[in-house]
């Protein structure tokens, strides 16, 4: 008997769901992401163009294009009238200069082509500071089309003469009426500028108030209490065998951009010894991601954890203990305390945040550990942060009381980055004369009377004294682009000192700084070091009140920790599209700030992140309320985030700063209170029905049990067997097990000139992203914007993959007899809490010597060179994208648009000013071609040519790529592997060296070095 069974495809069909019914009639569940025009149905139906018309247009334009192509356009060549002697068109000049913006300090060499600065690299003569992604990107700020082009008075254009007259009048009026004249600035390290300010102050009786957007005022105050001097020491991470950090993101934005490279020097497994790094923090920071032991701690419990560590160390030192509640992180703290005590005098405890009590206790711990004068150096002090929060509070009160007659904002945007920004804006109206030196429109310039735009630092003269005994010069590398004037020159002219700041700096240096060294030598070198030292300091004072204040636990409260990202920082460069598109090293999200919530907490609150059909990420939105201020923010579920603590990045939500930065994210400064970025008693409420669209460059979080991509081991295992974690892979064949490289279809290439190799040390890479920006600058990599990133059309030639560990492993699955499906489901989930490990892996074109891309290109547009490079010939490419499909590393990028000529991509490449940053030695790719890392072949060709012209062999280390230059942690080593004396040859022979996906036997020219964690 035949039965008539009905099979249902799912429960929805059984329930006869009407939505499903509708969906069944469509081929795709969602509208296909075709072009914007075709996607817009309304526009499409409005259009009167018929198919016939379309074909006519097509035919006509093809004919017109072919006709036009027959006649080449007339090009002009316009030489100098009087050529500067050192300039040769087509060759670059390098000038030494320095960068300091109130946050990062770096000594630079500026590459100048035909009078345009286009690339920055570290000055080898200086050991201090470091080129971060932000410093690297600062060259683009010069060519920002939204820069102010002339002085303005109440928003109207004016001349310098008129503005000067009015301002001097205003200043005199303020002085004679007995009101205050205040100069509000970020930290200033320039001695000449300070001298100018002093003269200005004495003329008008002015007060100088300093504050830092990312304030460490509390640390300075704590040092005053502990050591008697309000000063910052320099920290020697390169001398510390054990580092314990309490939420100090010292690889990111903590005090000094030079810490990363010092820290990395001790992270080499062959260092004696390799340092061990503990991190206790709430948000997963860049520093935490690099730690050997990382403990997520609820923000309000960090104080108790710190005091507990104090007690543990004090017990060993035989010092008096203090009372504190029991910390929930005793095991990890005990371990850290043991290691610290064993490395007495060679350890370092640091803390982030702006809480005086925390820093007081940290000082006491370091003192117990005998670190003062060893890893913490007060003889050489850091002047990079000098802000005083209390002065700002006083100023605000004085302004409200109408006691301030004139206010000048220099490198300061208080309306945006003060928590009391709104108050400040209101109080500003009570000031008779307000002036800003901002070189771009910002939240403050729209409210002041006069804007006297400052030069960009690449157009300015200046100097810096960032540390005791260290001096640096700033020299202009381009003529001012607009009718702007250096802030110091403005102050000088209002003080009656003329407006020649160059002479002022030179005189100052000859008189006070330079000994027997000549000015020209100092200017050439960019830096000058004297033997001056400050006196060393000893700790005194008590920690009783500090520990008492810290010893409070509030497990009910939801805490909020505001942090700054490596790209955007405090938001000063929010209009820099390179930085906006630089993926956050941890979340891999671009063009956004968001609330980071731990997976467990998100589950409790019912907050979700989901992947949509095109592979992009959507997130729920919440209303975040702290201290009466509410912000609507998207939620990003972040592994490693402490439970019940949420994080939000500063520096977003800028208004009126330009086309790239406007309206990206929300301003988190508004939530801070009194410069404190760690806040309690936050509340979250989910906004129903609202979904936020993220643009992430990486959505897979774990390795899923693959062990051929990231290889890692522990220090103990490495010391016993240097090949640990990097065992030779064997493939089973009918001839028995063979090494993958023994099985090949390809013929070998000639290798008789050079063979360029790059080695990537996973221990050295901190994930900071400076290399990504350097690659942008050197290779004219376009910015594509948030929408395109969401479509996975990012153009980065060099990406940094970030992987989390997973609690589920093959071994564990076998042991616990977990089913295959469950195993893989669990493998997809990043580890919880303490067991979370993070690894950063820079991936660029691997320049395979058996390249899968080369074999499939139908037009031979990608070919192999005998120098071991995989060439990509743009003019030959017809855009089949077969190569990208066949690339196992997914490093090829397709130009979906003509980014340099398309107004849809209005970032920098489509305007005349922004185009000035382009490297003239690298072609700007057009639509429809594939592009990828060339290992900076233009730089290789150049050094080879230099050697040929001089009739000599290549020098060691002469050949470099933009990324290897930018990497100051030594993670990227480049060179000729045929030269047995080269560093990269040694690296390629290291027992840690491996190739990505070696089973494919693509024989890349890029090596990776096994990650070694100091655990065990």
């Amino acid at each position: 008997m035949a039965t008539k069974k009905t099979y249902f495809q799912g429960l929805g069909e059984l329930a006869n769901n009407p939505e499903l019914e509708q969906l069944q009639h469509k081929e795709f569940a969602e509208k296909l992401p075709t072009e914007a025009f075709l996607g817009d149905e309304e526009k499409l139906s409005e259009s009167s163009t018929s198919r016939r018309d379309f074909l006519k247009f097509l035919g006509f334009s093809t004919a017109a294009a072919s006709l036009a192509a027959c006649e080449a356009p007339v090009q002009k060549v316009i030489p100098f009238v009087v050529k500067p002697e050192e300039t040769i068109a087509g060759n670059a000049n390098w000038y030494a200069s320095s960068f300091y913006d109130g946050n990062d300090y770096a000594s630079l060499l500026v590459k100048n082509r035909e009078g345009r600065p286009i690339f920055l690299k570290a000055n080898d003569l200086s050991k201090e500071g470091g080129i971060t992604a932000r410093v690297q990107a600062s060259v683009l700020n010069l060519y920002d089309s939204s820069r102010l082009k002339e002085p303005t008075a109440k928003g109207q254009k004016t001349s310098w003469r008129k503005a000067d007259r009015a301002i001097v009048k205003g200043l005199n009026a303020a002085k004679s009426s007995g009101k205050q004249v205040v100069l509000l600035s970020s930290s200033i390290v320039s001695p000449s500028t300070k001298a100018v300010i002093k003269e200005f102050a004495s003329k008008y009786g002015a007060k100088h108030v300093t504050y830092d957007a990312l304030s460490v005022s509390a640390m300075l105050d704590a040092n005053k209490e502990s050591f008697g001097v309000r000063a910052l020491p320099t920290y020697h991470f390169d001398k510390a065998d054990v580092v314990v950090s309490f939420a100090a993101d010292f690889i990111g934005d903590w005090l000094d951009s030079g810490h990363g490279k010092d820290y990395a020097a001790k992270r080499n497994p062959n260092a004696s010894p390799m340092s061990r790094h503990y991190q206790f923090e709430s948000n997963l920071s860049l520093t935490g991601a690099n730690a050997d032991y990382r403990t997520p701690v609820k923000a309000s419990e960090l104080g108790v954890a710190l005091v507990t560590l104090y007690n543990l160390v004090a017990k060993k030192a035989g010092a008096k203990l203090v009372n504190t509640p029991a910390s929930g992180y005793n095991t990890q703290l005990q371990k850290a305390a043991n290691d610290l005590w064993d490395a007495k005098g060679k350890s370092l405890v640091v803390a982030g945040g702006n809480d005086k009590n925390i820093h007081t206790v940290v000082n006491a711990i370091n003192d117990l550990l005998d670190n003062m004068g060893k890893t913490i150096d007060f003889k050489k002090r850091s002047y990079l942060k000098q802000g005083n929060d209390a002065d700002v509070a006083t100023l605000l009160n004085d302004m409200k009381a109408g006691k301030v007659g004139a206010l000048i904002a220099y490198n300061a945007n208080p309306v945006y980055n003060l928590a009391e920004g709104a108050d400040f804006a209101e109080a500003l109206s009570k000031v008779d004369l307000s002036v800003s030196f901002a070189s771009k429109n910002d939240e403050t310039t729209s409210l002041v009377d006069y804007v006297c735009p400052d030069h960009n630092y690449l157009e300015s003269w200046g100097d810096a004294n960032p540390y005791t005994g260290v001096y640096a010069l700033v020299q202009p590398t381009i003529n001012p682009l607009f009718n702007t004037r250096q802030a110091q020159a403005s102050l000088m002219s209002w003080t009656g000192l003329g407006d020649d700041f160059y002479s002022y700096v030179k005189t100052y240096w000859n008189r006070y700084v330079l000994g027997s060294t000549s000015w020209n030598t100092a200017l050439h070198d960019g830096v000058y070091t004297s033997k001056a030292t400050e006196r060393s300091l000893t700790r005194r004072g008590s920690i009783v009140s500090a520990t008492k204040a810290l010893s409070k636990l509030s497990s009910d409260s939801i805490d909020l920790v505001l942090y700054s990202k490596t790209g955007i920082g405090s938001g000063e460069y929010a209009n820099n599209p390179w930085l906006q598109e630089l993926p956050d090293p941890i979340s891999k999200t671009t063009w956004d700030n968001y609330l980071t919530v731990s997976p467990r907490f998100a589950k409790e609150l019912g907050l979700n992140n989901e992947y949509v059909s095109n592979g992009a990420l959507n997130g729920d939105v919440v209303d975040l309320t702290v201290g009466g201020t509410t912000l609507r923010v998207p939620v990003l579920i972040q592994p490693g985030q402490a439970y019940k603590t949420v994080g939000l990045a500063l520096g977003y939500g800028r208004q009126g700063v330009g086309k790239a930065g406007d309206g990206v994210g929300v301003n988190a400064f508004a939530l801070a209170s009194d410069f404190n970025t760690t806040l309690s008693n936050a509340s979250l409420s989910k906004v129903e029905g609202e979904v936020h669209e993220f643009a992430c460059t990486q959505l897979h979080h774990t390795m899923m049990g693959r062990d051929r991509i990231v290889k890692e081991t522990t220090l103990d295992a490495y010391q016993q067997d240097p090949r640990s974690g990097n065992e030779q892979m064997m493939l089973e064949t009918h001839k028995g097990p063979l090494e993958p490289e023994k099985i090949t279809l390809w013929e070998e290439h000639d290798r008789d000139v050079h063979w360029w190799n790059l080695s990537v040390d996973l221990n050295g890479c901190t994930g900071c992203g400076a290399c990504v920006i350097a690659c942008h600058a050197e290779n004219n990599v376009p910015v594509v914007g948030k929408e395109e990133i969401r479509r996975s059309r990012d153009m980065h030639w060099l990406r940094i993959d970030r992987y989390y560990s997973s609690d589920m492993t093959e071994e564990r699955a076998e042991e616990e007899e977990v089913s295959t499906i469950d195993k893989y489901l669990a493998m997809e989930v990043a580890s919880e809490a303490e067991s979370l490990e993070v690894v950063f892996q820079p991936v660029m074109c691997q320049h395979c010597n058996h390249a899968p891309c080369e074999t499939v290109c139908p037009v031979a547009a990608t070919t192999h060179s005998r120098e071991g490079l995989n060439h990509m010939t743009y003019n030959r490419c017809v855009g089949t994208r077969y190569c990208a499909n066949n690339c196992p590393y997914k490093v090829r990028r397709f130009n979906w648009f003509n980014y340099s000529e398309n107004d849809q991509f209005d970032f920098y490449m489509n305007d005349d000013l922004g185009k000035m940053v382009l490297n003239p030695d690298v072609v700007v790719r057009s639509r429809g071609v594939m592009e990828k890392c060339s290992m900076c072949i233009q730089m290789l060709q150049k050094v080879k040519l230099d050697a040929k012209k001089d009739g000599r062999k290549l020098r060691a280390g002469e050949a470099q790529t933009a990324c290897s230059i930018a990497c100051d942690t030594g993670a990227l080593t480049f060179g000729d592997v045929l030269d047995e004396k080269s560093e990269v040859y040694t690296e390629s022979k290291s027992p840690r060296a491996y190739h990505l996906l070696e089973e494919l036997n693509t024989q890349p020219s890029v090596w990776y070095q096994t990650k070694v964690r100091n655990k065990g």
């Binding site: 002009k76 030489p79 009087v82 060439h871 010939t873 030695d921 072609v923 040929k948 062999k953």
Partner: protein, 411 residues
């Protein structure tokens, strides 16, 4: 592709005695002349013409006999510092100074005795007459071959037609004699074609192929600007400067040895000579005045105008490579030692510069296949040891060491 022939020019007769020592002297002599030439072209050539005609530029023209009237010591002190010599009241020095409108010769105090000897030796010998056999471009050769065939073909065709005509006349005469109906040549041809459609078909196919071939050749010339000869804002003549006055190419296009672009000289380089030379003919004066206008020079008072707003000269670029191709002059001029004329043609004969070579990729590659790498250069030297074995001692041309790889020029 290129070859150079050096012809010695009016060398003095050597006595028998000198001949005995010829070999040894010649060795030392050749070396110093080479150095002298280098010094001369970079320091003296912009003001002094060297050659038998003794032409005046800014300073006196120099021929082998010009310097005979002065002693070597006098020449030493004159070249090192002429102003000092004039100030010392030396009569011969004052006479030269007066003769050349009191234009002072720059001092060269850094020249060693040896340098000066070399320069003087070079002057005495006179310039080597450089005959550059400009690249015989294959296309031209082919063109002449094609035209030869065409003449033969046309002649054959004419002969055939004539033959057919004669035959038709004979046939008609015979027909007339026989009393049959006659037809003209055209009529009979049409009748024949009607009877044999295969001929029409073949003819059509031939014509189609011919047209396609023509179109293909035409397309290959798209974007090729060979022969491009735009009018420049200043009617600058390379024939006068490089040809007649023998100014070294590198004197103005100084970037060629150092940089990717040879560079168009800035107006101040022009002024090195044109401070003194304002032109003789009416049109010459007019053109030179354009330089003065650009830089702000008053030819009357021979001074630069203070605070003058300078106007850059907007030259029209003749040689345009597309952005996608990277070309570096210094690689070719400095490292490979390619003569300017190899690519730019007989530039010293051009009144108005035109693009001489096609600048197509095929043209680049042809040269890369033939040009030998200079393995004496220390950069190549060690590397070349591998190549000797690999290429069995053949000459190492650029293509053998990767000179045809795409990425070398396209990035």
């Amino acid at each position: 592709m290129t070859s150079q022939h050096c012809k010695s020019n009016g060398r003095k007769r050597l006595s028998l005695f000198a001949l005995l020592f010829f070999t040894t002297i010649q060795l030392g002599f050749a070396q110093s002349i080479e150095l002298g030439e280098e010094l001369f072209s970079s320091n003296c050539a912009s003001c002094h013409y060297l050659g038998p005609e003794s032409k005046k530029l800014i300073g006196p023209g120099l021929a082998d006999h010009t310097l005979e009237e002065y002693t070597t010591e006098w020449l030493y002190s004159w070249i090192r510092n002429s102003a000092e010599l004039i100030a010392s009241g030396d009569e011969a020095a004052i006479a030269v100074y007066e003769e050349y409108n009191k234009s002072a010769m720059p001092a060269f105090p850094y020249f060693s005795d040896e340098d000066l000897d070399n320069v003087l030796a070079y002057i005495e010998q006179g310039p080597a007459e450089v005959v550059v056999d400009v690249a015989e471009v294959g296309v031209d050769g082919e063109a002449s071959a094609t035209s030869n065939t065409m003449v033969v073909l046309v002649a054959a065709l004419v002969m055939l037609l004539l033959f057919a005509f004669v035959l038709a006349r004979i046939k008609n005469v015979l027909k007339e004699i026989k009393g049959q109906e006659t037809s003209s040549l055209l009529e009979s041809a049409l009748i024949w074609l009607k009877q044999t459609p295969i001929v029409i078909a073949l003819f059509c196919i031939f014509m189609l192929l011919y047209a396609l071939g023509g179109a293909w050749d035409g397309l290959l010339t798209v974007g090729v600007q060979k022969g491009y000869q735009p009018e420049q804002p200043i009617a600058f003549s390379h024939k006068i400067h490089a040809g007649e006055n023998g100014v070294d190419c590198n004197y103005c296009h100084s970037g060629a040895r150092h940089s990717k672009s040879a560079g168009v000289p800035s107006a101040n380089v022009c002024m090195n000579c044109h401070t003194y030379i304002a032109g003789e003919s009416e049109s010459g004066k007019e053109e030179i005045a354009k330089i003065y206008d650009a830089i702000g020079f008053d030819p009357e008072s021979r001074t630069y105008i203070e605070g003058y707003e300078q106007k850059p000269i907007e030259w029209i670029r003749v040689h345009n490579l597309p952005d996608l191709a990277y070309f570096n002059h210094s690689q070719h001029v400095n490292v490979a030692g390619v003569e300017c004329q190899t690519c730019h043609g007989p530039i010293e004969e051009m009144e108005v510069v035109e693009q001489y070579s096609s600048l197509t990729m095929g043209w680049c590659i042809d040269c890369h296949r033939e040009h030998k790498v200079d393995t004496a250069n220390a950069y190549y030297h060690d590397l070349s040891e591998n190549w000797v074995e690999k290429y069995h001692g053949e000459d190492i041309s650029v293509d053998k060491i990767g000179g045809l790889e795409c990425g070398k020029c396209h990035y």
